[in-house]
């Protein structure tokens, strides 16, 4: 078990493209950190730099007390779970689990003990002698996890491990990973583009955009006080409404802001509300409904109870405290 520290970490590809810049993250021992962001934001590159699969061009990675920039992946004491699982197709599940330990010259008895233990934790005992292709997607995912567990590493690295599963299985496995991590208390770094997955799994979230860290914080901190317009729009579903302040000049207390953010659930229908919205479409979700519309040329979405009254135009109000204000050019939060 170990902490992981990223100091001014940066990556420039040989062609000159910057993938990651100036990333500073301190991950405590046993913490579950999720790197989240849209595709191409550099989250996978960052993870692969920690794993040692990608060269580091600036800064340093520490695992425990050791700087590992020049250390081979195998010697970093980490284990990784891949999106496509990367199971060795010609080896049985047992051989897949044991391969890394065998390469480290772990005694046979110890390998058996660890493989059986992992198989029990993940309930894959009855598959141990099968080949990966004879397993379902969910079972393969478990084997991939098992391969990480048997190593008893200082840290787990997950690269979108649930993306290849169907929606239902993804939710189930998400919970299992969370429980497993709480039980093993192994430091984990987890990459996903799915903000819901990120929110549910993380002790702390790292939101990345364009190779830079936008915000680091617990899921609730990030949700309640997004540090930038980007984070505000990325975290939360349905997404926060981001309105150009010039479209609603009459709103009090927003004079100095460029962009005004307000979550759909923070908007309410009130007869004397300051915003007049033309309703364009309604999506019924069962317990509630999403109403899409526009005001002053800006799109708006609100969440209403499913028994609320609908009309062609709605007057909307909000609590002043639920507004998020962002700088016009930089998108940074202003309070």
């Amino acid at each position: 078990m170990a902490s992981i520290t990223l100091n001014n970490l940066g990556k420039v590809y040989p062609g000159g493209t910057r993938a990651v810049g100036d990333v500073n993250i301190d991950i405590a021992d046993g913490e579950f950190i999720v790197l989240v962001g849209p595709s191409g934001c550099g989250k996978s590159t960052l993870l692969r730099m920690v794993a040692g699969l990608e060269n580091i061009t600036d800064g340093e990675v520490r695992i425990g007390e050791r700087v590992v920039n020049q250390v081979e992946p195998a010697d970093r004491d980490i284990a990784m779970v891949f999106q496509n699982y990367a199971l060795y197709p010609h080896m049985s599940v047992r051989q897949n689990l044991a391969y890394g330990l065998k390469n480290r010259r772990t005694p046979k008895a110890e390998i058996d003990r660890r493989v059986n233990e992992a198989a029990e934790i993940l309930q894959i005992g009855q598959f141990l002698d099968r080949k990966p292709r004879a397993l379902s997607g969910g079972q393969r995912q478990r084997v991939a996890m098992g391969r990480a567990i048997v190593r008893e590493p200082a840290a787990f690295l997950f690269d979108e491990p649930l993306s290849n599963l169907d929606a239902k299985l993804r939710v189930a496995m998400r919970l299992e990973i969370k429980e497993l991590q709480k039980r093993l208390r192994t430091t984990s770094l987890y990459v996903t583009h799915d903000q819901l997955e990120a929110m549910t799994l993380a002790d702390r979230l790292v939101v990345l955009n364009g190779g830079k860290v936008e915000q680091i914080g617990t899921p609730l901190e990030v949700y309640r006080r997004p540090a930038s317009a980007f984070v505000a729009g990325f975290i939360g579903s349905p997404a926060m409404n981001l309105i150009d302040a010039r479209a609603v000049p009459h709103l009090p207390g927003t004079a100095h802001a460029g962009t005004i953010g307000i979550r759909p659930e923070d908007l309410t229908v009130t007869p004397d509300g300051p915003i007049l919205m033309d309703v364009l479409a309604v999506e019924e979700l069962g317990a509630q409904r999403l109403v899409h519309g526009q005001t002053g040329g800006e799109k708006l979405t609100i969440t209403l109870p499913s028994d609320s009254e609908l009309a062609d135009t709605l007057r909307l109000g909000f609590d002043r405290a639920s507004l998020h204000l962002f700088h016009r050019e930089t998108g940074v939060r202003i309070d």
Binding site: G52, L53, A74, A86, L87, Y88, R104
Partner: protein, 282 residues
């Protein structure tokens, strides 16, 4: 099939049966000839049905051959062919898979140049550089040796490209997982790449074995010592020698024996053969 036209189906069967007969005709004729005695040819035409001398003719050829032609017993020539075919097939696969591994899984200076050096061999078949290649082999003292028969033929761009293609289609994550599992390059090669390329190797082996067995011009040039004659090259020498005294039954028995191993490989391993053929032309 779209509509049921019995007439058309019958025609198709007819075409195919005719095709099979035409394709098989020369071999049938040769086989029939190889079961008769020399006197049966004196009448002027070849018999169309097998005669009683099959065992006699074949055992004579395998054991002693036609001494007047200066060729060794056919068994000896078949052994030479087998050694050459195996050396070429195994050699080509071995050096090609190693170089494909180097080209796909490493980045190093002049990698492109190395790749082009291999690629260019595609454009230099033995037939077009025959005299200077012979001179090189003679200069190295490799005439009349198994090394001289096989080594100059084992560089292969085709096989290298095939393995390169196979490796390129393997997911990147496999090598990453192996690296994290503590496998170095050679361990990865042995534990992961080799087992995963097994069927490709087998398919290629079938094609290369036939290629090696059927070599003609090269063995003709580099062997002057009868002990190293291969059967495909030896058969011509035998036919030339018996021209004055036609021992057709014996020449044809040799021809049948020369065809037998590669044809057996094609029929016995048809799936691998077709796979190999299609893959090497990609």
């Amino acid at each position: 099939m779209i509509e049921n036209r019995p007439g058309l189906n019958l025609l198709a069967h007819l075409v195919l049966v005719l095709g099979v007969v035409v394709v098989a005709l020369p071999v049938w004729v040769a086989f029939v000839a190889s079961t008769h005695s020399a006197t049966d040819f004196m009448s002027g035409t070849v018999p169309m049905w097998p005669g009683p001398h099959l065992v006699e003719n074949y055992s004579k050829m395998l054991d002693s051959g036609v001494s007047t032609s200066g060729t060794p017993p056919v068994a000896r020539m078949m052994l030479n062919s087998l050694i050459m075919a195996l050396a070429i097939a195994v050699g080509k696969i071995a050096i090609s898979i190693l170089s494909a591994f180097a080209i796909v899984y490493f980045r190093f200076p002049f990698r492109g140049l190395a790749f082009w050096c291999i690629f260019i061999t595609l454009m230099l078949p033995v037939e077009v550089r025959i005299v200077p290649t012979f001179q090189v082999v003679a200069g190295l003292g490799l005439l009349n040796s198994y090394a001289g028969l096989s080594i100059p033929l084992i560089a292969s761009a085709t096989a290298t490209f095939l393995f390169r293609q196979v490796f390129l289609t393997m997911p990147d994550e496999l090598v990453e997982a192996a690296r994290i599992d503590g496998a170095g390059p050679m361990k990865f090669f042995r534990d992961i790449l080799l087992p995963l390329s097994r069927t490709n190797m087998a398919a290629l082996f079938v094609i290369l074995f036939i290629y090696g067995w059927n070599q003609y011009l090269w063995p003709l040039l580099v062997t002057t010592d009868a002990q190293y004659y291969t059967i495909v090259a030896g058969i011509k020498r035998m036919a030339d020698a018996v021209d004055g005294l036609p021992q057709w039954h014996l020449v044809m028995a040799t021809a049948v024996l020369a065809m037998l191993p590669p044809v057996a490989v094609v029929i016995g391993m048809q799936k691998l053969f077709v796979k190999g053929l299609v893959e090497t032309e990609k």
